[in-house]
Amino acid sequence: MASEEQTLIRRLLLGEEAAFRELVGQLERPLLAFIQRFTPEVAEDIFQETFVRVIRKLAEFKPDVSLKTWIFTIARNLCLDHIKMNRRHGLVSLDRPAREVEGNVIPFKEVLEAATRQPGEAAELSDNQRRVLEALRTLDPTRREALILRVYCDLPYEEIARITRSPVGTCKYRVHEALNELAARLGGARGAATG
């Protein structure tokens, strides 16, 4: 673990407000982007709750992953919890996944279906951006998650692998394939629009 990160963790453990600010400032943009793609309607709440969990759980943090990765994992779990809770309460209309996934793995298709439903967003977007979001939404969920983490959140594959609990090679493949699919969809849409 980098010594700067270790120092930051120690300061966080000590309750140093400046350290809290530093951490939130560092992660605000990528983390919010990530959360917004999953649970846009409660992105702000989950963003805040993520940092509360960080303080609550920091003593248990094991530095075999980076702090950033660990925090993204917390955020991801919170997003999944929210989706699951909503599903249980029937608040979200879901496409059933093509196949049930065992264990802790969540049917991300459901999660990611919500990715483009950001309130207020549509009005501010250009036509092209809307097309991109639409194309993004139709991607395979796991590929889309990997793509978001890579392109939006700028995380290295090793960290994406830890967050998504998938092999690095798989993550890389998902990102590349997602990009290929996105290109095909955007190309097709563009072709249809122009043709």
Binding site: M1, L32, V54, I55, N128, Q129, L147, H176, N180
Partner: protein
């Protein structure tokens, strides 16, 4: 490379993730394949479009709310820890400064190995005299119920003593005493107790060897045997009564007159099965245990003792135990319990003997010991527990004193040789030079005991 393979690599290509060889292969294919080039442009366009999406907007208000929520969570955690501590049914054993240092050194090692971090939160239980603390830069008076955290600094003034309780940062909870004039630096994770900057004064150091042979000729090894000296560990027992402090400063001892100490010693005797010899003129409540600093069993015992939160449950082993009570001028009285000659299997056919070694001295406001404050009475007998912290702190983990014995005309003889060359110990950008004096040659005649003083002189050089 065919088209299918090339298209698989397009994502990696536009993201700049291919290695040189892969990139060349793909580009070589693209140069001759207009369809794939067009596809490459599409993928690059898709990436550009993706990146053109507006990034999440930053918001001062969002950050402020998140930080406030974090502060609140942290406050809750600390308060919960304090409540937990207050509700503890047992008044926890006070842990001597020296013991904390020892535990600190060891535990840091463990924690580093496990990759964990330790942070301390200490609450001030009592302040006798005047002490200051600094959280950040400015010093301010330390008061009861102040909460001191790692990286803060605490400084006690002359004749002052502070009692802390450890409320967070370790699964083990206990009280912590800081002796008068000792400065404790809670930085570095709160584990390392260091002394303020200042000059190191020359200080006389004493060590002693005592050998007890319970029955006859136990010292009969096949040949010469070499031993390394061990160090001491100090624990503090909880005060069991209101002891009145004597004004007697001679020898830095205090008189014990109140009854509760009898109870303390009775319980110790009962729990340990040790014979306890009390000088009832003295009073106090510190238990001093001799042992090796690097002995994992010792550390383990120490941990268990802390977990039990009652040092009376501490297993002293099957050795002679003697209580001697010492105190410090202006400080809380202490009860010292000295146990045998150390952790080693002394007086056995293998004849392991440990030597307690260290130095004794008060420290001034700079944190360094001063010779003028040495107490002769304290040096006369066994070495005193105070030096343990200093030794641990200055990393004199094991004093390389050598003991040899061999039968000579039927009578085992013990020779103690202290190092001829000074030890040079790096410390805080300086060096501590430690010189020893005090060889001994001693004939064992059945059961007996010998005490020998070893003089150690420490100087700091730039």
């Amino acid at each position: 490379m065919d088209c299918h393979r090339a298209r698989e690599e397009l994502g990696g290509l536009v993201l700049g993730e291919l290695d040189v060889e892969q990139r060349r292969a793909v580009e070589a294919h693209l140069s001759g394949c207009p369809e794939c080039r067009a596809r490459r442009d599409q993928v690059a366009g898709a990436l550009a479009s993706l990146r053109s999406l507006p990034p999440a907007e930053t918001s001062e208000e969002r950050r402020r709310r998140a930080v406030a929520a974090m502060m609140e969570e942290h406050r809750r955690r600390v308060e919960a820890a304090l409540r937990y501590r207050s509700a503890s049914p047992l008044r926890v054993v006070a842990v001597a400064l020296a013991a904390l240092v020892l535990a600190a050194v060891v535990t840091i090692g463990w924690n580093v190995a496990r990759g964990e971090l330790e942070v301390y939160v200490l609450r001030v239980v009592a302040v006798h005299g005047t002490a200051d603390w600094a959280s950040g830069g400015e010093w301010k008076p330390l008061q009861k119920n102040d909460v001191v955290r790692s990286r803060d600094r605490v400084r006690t003034r002359e004749s002052a003593m502070v009692q802390f309780e450890l409320v967070e940062g370790s699964k083990k909870r206990g009280d912590l005493f800081i002796n008068q004039n000792t400065s404790m630096d809670l930085r570095n994770g709160g584990r390392v107790i260091s002394i303020d900057s200042g000059e190191l004064y020359g200080v006389e150091v004493s060590a002693a060897v005592r050998i007890v042979t319970p029955s006859g000729d136990h010292f009969a090894p096949d040949g010469p045997t070499t031993f390394e000296a061990g160090l001491q560990q100090t624990y503090v027992l909880p005060q069991t009564g209101a002891y009145r402090q004597s004004a007697d400063r001679r020898g830095m001892t205090l008189q014990f007159t109140d009854a509760p100490i009898e109870e303390v010693t009775r319980v110790i005797s009962e729990k340990t099965g040790e014979k306890i010899d009390i000088d009832s003129r003295l009073r106090g409540a510190r238990i001093c245990f001799f042992g090796r600093a690097d002995d994992p069993r010792l550390i383990d015992s120490f941990s268990r003792a802390l977990e039990a939160q009652n040092l009376m449950l501490y297993r002293l082993g099957e050795r002679e135990c003697r209580i001697n009570v010492l105190g410090q001028a202006g400080g809380e009285p202490r009860l010292f319990v000295r146990v045998g000659a150390g952790r080693g299997r002394f007086a056995t056919s293998r004849g392991t003997i440990m030597i307690g070694a260290g130095y004794y001295g008060e420290v001034d406001a700079s944190g360094w010991p001063r010779p003028r404050e040495l107490g002769t009475a304290a040096l006369a007998d066994w070495t005193q527990p105070h030096y343990y912290s200093r030794l641990a702190e200055t990393r004199i983990r094991v004093v390389p004193t050598v003991i040899r014995w061999a039968p000579r005309g039927g009578t085992p003889t013990i020779e103690v040789r202290v190092p001829r060359e000074p030890m040079v110990i790096p410390y805080g950008g300086r060096q501590l030079v430690v010189e020893f004096k005090g060889d001994l040659e001693y004939e064992l005649k059945g059961e007996g005991e010998v005490t020998l003083p070893i003089t150690m002189k420490i100087k700091a050089v730039p």
